[in-house]
Amino acid sequence: MGRIYRIVIIVIIAMLAVFVMFNAGRIGKVKLVLTIAPRAAQVTVDGKAISSTSIYVKKGKHTVNASLSGFQSASRTVEVQKETTVTMALPPQGQAGTEYLLNHPDAQRQLQAIGDAGATKTGEILARKYPYLDQLPILTSNFTVYQAAPVRSKVAPGDADIALRVTAYSPIDRARAVDRIREDLGIDPSTVEIIFAQAPNIFVTGDD
């Protein structure tokens, strides 16, 4: 009986030793998942080269850098308190990048997948923030109102936002377009950036 006890204790100690051996480096750390496209990019976390798609790091700020010849390098500093995923897509740069993507269709698919996921997420945020988006564009024979990217709004980097682009060739049509924004979209025009295309402002240019 005593011998069986000894064997059981030895086995438990051995299992504990194996567990500690494999997890010692992870105690007090959290998982940082790296989704980088193209996957061939050289990735560093706090300057240390990483070859796997996830690592365990201490809680706090960490800087992820990714680079690949023919692509724009990217860098992101993240605050890691729990398991965090860092997603980075390196845009191709010049002929070398284009050639790389032609020769590596898998890299093309990886970049596309990250772009699609980002676009869907941004689209969902915008639809919640601006419920009138599904009523755009407003098309008439004299003017059009489209959704556009903001140009001058003081938007926080990475924050999803929109502007309205009004194309009309006469002051009267621009005034009508603003009326339609009020009536059709049901919004106060002061709440959104409105870009008036083809509308020279003599207070800027001095032309008349």
């Binding site: 903001p150 001058r152 709004s153 003081k154 938007v155 936002d161 006469s170 002051p171 009267i172 621009r174 005034a175 603003v178 009020r182 106060d188 025009p189 002061s190 709440t191 959104v192 950036e193 409105i194 008036f196 509308a199 402002n201 003599i202 207070f203 800027v204 001095g206 008349d208």
Partner: protein, 213 residues
């Protein structure tokens, strides 16, 4: 210990427990409301009207009035608080639900009444308009200033710049601010629509008023 003594102690403990529960339930009916004063304004808390959906309130049901920073214990419920000054200021009122958390009421900066702003404008109109014409001398030969209004406590001014030929130019909007006794143009250049995302420093109510008249 005799049976009589046991009954007495048990009864005493029960009374204590019931007393404590009654005290807790009484205490939980009330909440702390702190008020931060802003001279020369007065904050009035009006007692619940009984209808939680309604924003109307009965001015005769005053719960407390204060023009000093103070702390009050108020029975939980829906109240309306109004901040007022003398006859030069526009009163503002808001409904408030006093419930689980202590409430802090800060007195906002009140705007002047339309009448007070109009009288201030008559004194300053010439100065404001000369700031605009001096900034845009050639353009202002083609435009006229219309619908100029002061806002807030007279430190903001907004107007339309209406073209003499409406087929040639757009009607534009302009905002000026008075700082250290001097007026300066905030919206450079004047624009067809002045947007909140572009001019976050201008109170939203001013932009909305200007863009919609």
């Amino acid at each position: 210990m005799t049976r009589r003594r046991i009954i007495f102690i048990t009864g005493f403990l029960l009374v204590l427990l019931l007393g404590y529960l009654a005290f807790r339930s009484y205490r939980d009916m009330y909440q702390t409301v702190t008020v931060t004063a802003r001279k020369p304004f007065t904050l009035t808390l009006y007692a619940p009207s009984g209808d939680h959906e309604s924003t109307a309130y009965d001015k005769s049901k005053v719960f407390f009035v204060t023009s000093e920073s103070d702390k009050f214990r108020v029975k939980k419920g829906v109240y309306t608080y109004a901040v007022s000054g003398n006859s030069d200021y526009q009163e503002v009122s808001q409904q408030i639900n006093i419930d689980k958390k202590p409430v802090h009421l800060a007195m906002p900066q009140l705007d002047y009444t339309q009448a007070k702003l109009a009288s201030l404008l008559s004194e300053q109109k010439a100065e404001i308009e000369s700031v605009i014409t001096d900034a845009y001398p050639s353009q202002m030969q083609l435009f006229s200033i219309q619908g100029g209004k002061l806002y807030g406590q007279g430190e903001w001014y907004g107007a339309k710049l209406v073209p003499n030929d409406p087929r040639a130019y757009d009607t534009l909007r302009i905002v000026l601010k008075k700082e250290n006794g001097r007026w300066s143009i905030v919206t450079q250049p004047p624009e067809i629509i002045l947007s909140r995302p572009i001019y976050p420093q201008i109170p939203a109510s001013i932009l909305s008023d200007l863009d919609n008249f």
